[in-house]
Symmetry: C2
Subunit: 452 residues, 2 copies
């Protein structure tokens, strides 16, 4: 590990390697990459363009090659695969588990995809891939691999070990053997530990655990992640509606789902659409940011019109304008806090959830407390800094109202979004912030209008 980490981080090596690639120094490249984990080679190749990477990859054994391609970031891989011939991709696909193979095939144009599938000489692999291509990518069926070891409940341990031997090459990560009945229906599992400790004459029926958590093919990837986290599973079998064993999902794929989800949520909260990263093109970055900025600008325009309606008040007491930022910032902050707390509850459904009425009462009390503290602070601050008592009172009352309304909106919006199937994290994004800004402003100017 230590060596590998050092390998990864050494800038000197990177530079030396870059030089070797530029010079097409085959010997150095082969030698320095020998025995290096494919995941590290993938990380290294992220710094090269497709042509150079292809040159490096071609120097490596075909199995390593497949693993490297499999480890690449999706968007980089798509770029890479364009410089590969169908024959070469076929070879890569041949070396991968069915789920990883399908991920790659899904990134190719349909015509090329079909060409490659037709070229596969392993019939079982072809059947597995065709089966998996039927599923959406974000459900259990799209996450699962077909490679697994299953044993009939009537087998002996020796028969089971024979099956493990037969499939040893296909199933890289083996945790349990799944036990099925004569109809291929999943009825339990045996851990490898149990198989090791069992005598040769033992029957599977005597040692298998009938209680088993499985997921169905149509279950969403978020639900699969929830189930695997809740029960601390390293793999979960996938069954169809009849309970027939179809595949299994391993935790590494689910960890990717979890991190992708977190990233997506942060992007939504930040007002960035699409899956962009800092190293994407300027055009991509601009395109991902502009729509949300325009929403903000439109909101700003409406604000301008709203303030315009109260121009008379503004002419009378210019100081009203001083507190526009304070009112808006507080409304925005309160709204985001409230929605964030609700989004968290929604993401963690195992936690107890009160009834909506109870939740709103609680939100109201918290808002009233926060609002009272802030309003008092602002009132005191206004008087100390020499403001008129009238204006100080108006600003504080409006602020209190804004805190209440923003809390309510921040709480209710993610719940409504969630109910209608949208990502509740949208409620912490610019659209809702803009709406809250407007509401806050309206409350402020209406209070001014009424009281001054």
């Amino acid at each position: 590990m230590e060596e590998i980490l050092k390998f990864e981080l050494s800038n000197e090596f990177r530079e030396r390697f870059q030089h070797a690639v530029d010079e097409r120094d085959e010997d150095f490249i082969k030698e320095s990459l020998e025995g290096v984990n494919p995941a590290d080679i993938s990380a290294l190749l992220h710094e090269f363009d497709a042509e150079d990477s292809k040159y490096v990859i071609d120097l490596l054994p075909s199995e390593t090659r497949a693993e490297i391609i499999n480890d690449l970031d999706e968007d980089i891989r798509e770029r890479f695969l364009k410089v590969f011939q169908p024959d070469e991709i076929t070879e890569i696909v041949n070396h991968l588990d069915s789920d990883d193979a399908v991920d790659i095939l899904n990134e190719l144009p349909i015509k090329e995809r079909e060409e490659i599938i037709a070229k596969l000489d392993n019939e079982e692999k072809e059947a597995n891939i065709l089966d998996l291509l039927r599923y959406e990518e974000d459900v259990a069926g799209g996450l699962m691999a077909k490679e697994l070891i299953k044993a009939n409940v009537n087998w002996s341990v020796v028969q089971c070990i024979e099956e493990i031997r037969r499939q040893a090459e296909n199933v890289q990560k083996l945790y349990s053997v799944y036990v099925v009945d004569d109809n291929d229906r999943l009825i339990g599992r045996v851990s490898l530990k149990r198989i090791i400790l069992a005598g040769d004459k033992t029957q599977i029926a005597d040692i298998y655990e009938p209680e088993l958590i499985s997921v169905e093919t149509y279950m969403s990837e978020e639900e699969v992640a929830q189930v695997m986290m809740k029960y601390d599973l390293e793999a979960v079998p996938v069954v169809n509606m009849q309970g027939k064993l179809l595949g299994r999902i391993t935790i590494d794929d689910v960890v990717d789902v979890i991190t992708d989800q977190a990233e997506e949520e942060r992007q939504i909260m930040s007002g960035i659409s699409g899956d962009v990263e800092e190293d994407d093109s300027i055009w991509m970055l601009t395109k991902a940011r502009l729509p949300w900025l325009i929403i903000g600008v439109v909101g700003g325009f409406i604000s301008a019109m709203l303030i315009g309606v109260f121009e008379d008040e503004l002419l009378r007491i210019t100081a009203i304008a001083f507190f526009i930022p304070l009112i808006q910032a507080t409304g925005g902050n309160v709204g985001i806090q409230s929605s964030s707390i609700v989004v968290q509850s929604l993401a963690n459904p195992s936690a107890f959830s009160d009834s909506l009425a109870k939740r709103l009462v609680k939100v109201f009390i918290v808002a009233a407390l926060n609002g009272a503290v802030l309003a008092t602070l602002v009132y005191g601050g206004n008087l100390i800094s020499g403001g008129t008592q009238n204006l100080a009172m108006v600003v504080s009352i409006a602020l209190f109202g804004v805190v209440l309304i923003a809390s309510f909106m921040g709480t209710i919006t993610p719940l409504v979004l969630n109910r209608f199937g949208f990502n509740p994290a949208l409620a912490s994004g610019p659209f809702i912030t803009t709406t809250n800004d407007l509401l806050g402003l309206a409350i402020y100017f209406y209070t001014v209008h009424l009281m001054l």
Copy 2:
């Protein structure tokens, strides 16, 4: 699974169960919880207070009891443990792996902790726990469990299987046997699959894989998570600086680290301090939110003073005030977008990172593009809605400047925070938003001052 999920979700069952607990209906509780996964019972108990939960838990076998306590959310568990006697906690600790046992002990007052450790009759467990208590909770040493199977490289497979048998009870989840030399130094691993397929006479030396990824005790939990994700590991061995094997970390604990991190980041971005949830007390929720709201209010006050400085301009052209919200909202949105993209790059260090100068040039170009589009829109909008050409020009120029500055600040702040060891996600939180608001306002009024 299906049954279990249904079990979890059924409101009728919950109500029936609640009733049974109220009535202290022992038979119903025992019967209905028989064979139910402890993780589901934990979820169910989240709805009860400590007294009622204790009553339910006491009806269950002691092993299930330990697993339920282990599965509870940390804050709920702390509340629960207060109603347990030291003897009862000792029994729970006895049933748990060393890492989980230490997690629970860490939640107790020191005196009670020592009392419980002294009561443990299993000497090995006591030694393991004392060893683990030395580590901080957020480093590899604090995440690892001492329970694992290790084999000397000079052993035969039969000896290795004997060791597995001896430890079968202690090591629940077994993926690999770790191979050590005579000095207990980690030198490789053998997968269970290989052990199953090896003949009895095989030597460990002939089948072990010498290449192995391990982590050192002082490595941060974030780094451990990075390593396990990168290499798709279900478990990673932990060694000390001399390479001696000390423990192992399983993926389920790392998944918790990953989700906790994501949640912490969202809270920071939302301006919530501390790890609060919707079901926390009103006092906790208020306390977690108030500090950030006060920062916003202070920012609002400074904004008020800033605008006050330009009161003369405001008196002359009231319409200046109309565009305060537009300027501020855009500055805030741009700042959050920019910092979010940098935070993402920082969280994913394997991706290629350009030099700072190159990054800033790119940020500048993206900002200039976005700024130009927005400024044009606002200019057009202003003219169409009958604004004066002068003011339209001023607003658009200020807006363009704000987009540039907010992009720059949003990019540089997380980098600086990260450099000084702070969480870069702070750069998307209220503190920075407030600073950006002020800067935006200053740019706007200064432009007004210069041009009108």
